[in-house]
């Protein structure tokens, strides 16, 4: 586990060049996660949790950038197509 952050003055440290995404790339990312997990059968509550949990950094970044309302709109749109799945609760 690294305890030190990368040292930018270290001549052996490669420095990446940021490739900026398009204005739409965050929205695209949000759509991808919403659609993929809706396909897997996640309902609205579970999908929202993927976006709201900071440990799912990709979805969470989209959530922070786009905001609650926009993410919910994306989720609703994806669930409109994929959200008709039947949930069967198994017995213990």
């Amino acid at each position: 586990m690294p305890y030190d952050d990368p040292d930018p003055t270290d001549p052996n440290m490669l420095v990446g060049v940021e490739i900026p995404g398009t204005a739409e790339s965050t929205r695209d990312m949000a759509y991808v996660f919403a659609e993929e997990f809706a396909r897997m059968g996640f309902n609205k509550t579970k999908l929202l949790r993927v976006f709201q949990t900071p440990f799912y950094a990709g979805a969470h970044r989209a959530y922070l950038e786009l905001g609650d309302t926009e993410v919910e709109k994306i989720i609703d749109e994806c669930l409109g197509i994929w959200g008709r799945k039947n949930s069967l609760a198994q017995s213990a």
Binding site: I19, T26, L88
Partner: protein, 424 residues
């Protein structure tokens, strides 16, 4: 140096040994669009194969945050930089030379140098066969260095950090790249080993390292561009991913004699992974096997692409590229097929949608599938584009033609009771 055919490059290339191909080849497809970096695969592998003393730094399976993280640190940037130094400005794909005459043909020809070809120009002595580098110890420190690993307070090891964890926040795009050994058709590790301790199994193409023959020269560690062979200090020999071969060959007791997917595949909760065996032609291309799901995804739908094909090892790991990532980065990572692959994945036809349903419905290796049309169940729009969904059925078959499972596009979801929510 002998010349071999590399279909991923669309041309022949130099390789230190004559071409020799297995009957069937271990291969896999990872759908990056679904990966949330939960690291279940990483831990499934770790807890099975690399939990012993001396293996602490070994992560045969890992998930790294691209473009920020990497294991070992900067592995891909470093080999790409070495290649660019060997062939400045020449590492390009020539789209005008691409052929679409056969399913195996790529959309372009690679005009640059592979790690085998660049070795001649860049390396001395002559015995050096593969361009590569040996990572330093600190580069192996973490499976996703500086990325999604929480870190504690500096200087306080082995203590719980009560303040919580610290995670990096990126200001721009990123995605998660899950990696294991690619069990390459032209393995660089095998080419570089002076002891001939590394071999490719004729029955399934799995690349193994004979620990009795290995003397720990680390030529394989230096040569593998994906850095998936690793040196173990306390035994002084190298080790690598063994593709969970007892499962793949059906000798693990859990398999009950049938080919089963590896531990990292089986543990994938994001359902991004599918692994199997593909039939090979005698020239090293994949034999036509239309209803093998891997053949379909790679050669028919062409949505799954090899990782850094320009390195020249003909890796057998294929990736459905992430839809939201800037194309220049994806072109570098997956080659010239990226645009078409994303277009098809974003607008899947009925068969592709059905084949995507096969991912992780079973831990057994799917040998073939059958597609059955069903009724239309939805018509509407997604992001302004018309979408029609049909409740088609896909049936998966195993080694002896037995039905493994069948599922529909609109399949029911089974939820575990709270009492057993986390039991596997």
């Amino acid at each position: 140096m002998p010349k071999v055919w590399n279909w991923q490059l669309g041309r022949g290339m130099e390789y230190p040994y004559d071409a020799a191909f297995p009957k069937r080849q271990f291969a896999f497809v990872f759908n990056i669009n679904r990966c949330i970096a939960c690291q279940s695969c990483t831990m499934a592998c770790k807890s099975t194969w690399t939990f012993n003393k001396g293996q602490e730094h070994m992560w045969w399976a890992n998930v790294e945050t691209k473009p920020y993280g990497g294991y070992p640190q900067f592995w891909d940037m470093k080999i790409l930089k070495l290649l660019d130094e060997a062939n400045p400005g020449g590492q390009v794909w020539n789209k005008s030379n691409g052929s679409t005459s056969s399913p195996q043909a790529g959309s372009a020809q690679f005009d640059g140098m592979t790690i085998f070809e660049a070795a001649k120009k860049k390396l001395t002595p002559e015995s050096a066969r593969v361009l590569g580098y040996l990572p330093e110890d600190h580069e192996w420190n973490s499976p996703n260095i500086y990325e999604d690993n929480p870190k504690g307070i500096k200087g306080k090891k082995y203590e719980l950090d009560k303040e919580g964890t610290e995670l990096p926040i990126h200001k721009t795009w990123f995605f998660y790249l899950a990696r294991i050994c690619n069990h390459c058709t032209y393995p660089a590790c095998l080419a570089a080993c002076p002891r001939k301790a590394i071999y490719k199994r004729p029955e399934d193409g799995i690349v193994l390292l004979d620990q009795e023959q290995c003397r720990g020269y680390r030529k394989c560690v230096e040569a593998c561009p994906y850095k998936k062979t690793m040196y173990r200090g306390n035994t002084r020999i190298s080790e690598k991913c063994i593709a969970c071969y007892p499962r793949v060959e059906g000798t693990d007791p859990e398999t009950k004699g049938k080919p089963m997917e590896t531990r990292c595949m089986a543990a994938c909760i994001g359902q991004i992974r599918m692994q199997g065996l593909v039939k090979m032609n005698t020239n090293g291309t994949w034999a036509e096997d239309r209803y093998n799901p891997l053949y379909y995804l790679v050669h028919v739908a062409k949505v799954a692409l090899p990782l850094y094909p320009q390195l020249g090892t003909a890796p057998n790991g294929y990736y459905i590229p992430p839809r939201w990532v800037p194309r220049p980065y994806l072109h570098q990572m997956f080659g010239p097929g990226v645009d078409a692959a994303i277009e098809r994945y974003m607008n899947p036809d009925r068969e592709l949608l059905a084949v995507l349903q096969l991912f992780r419905r079973s831990n057994m290796i799917i040998v073939s599938y059958k597609f059955q049309e069903g009724p239309k169940i939805y018509e509407g729009t997604l992001r302004g584009k018309p979408v029609s969904i049909y409740n088609d059925t896909v049936i998966a078959y195993g080694k002896d033609g037995e039905e493994l499972f069948r599922t529909t596009i609109d399949e029911p979801i089974h939820e575990r009771p709270a009492l057993h929510a986390n039991s596997i």
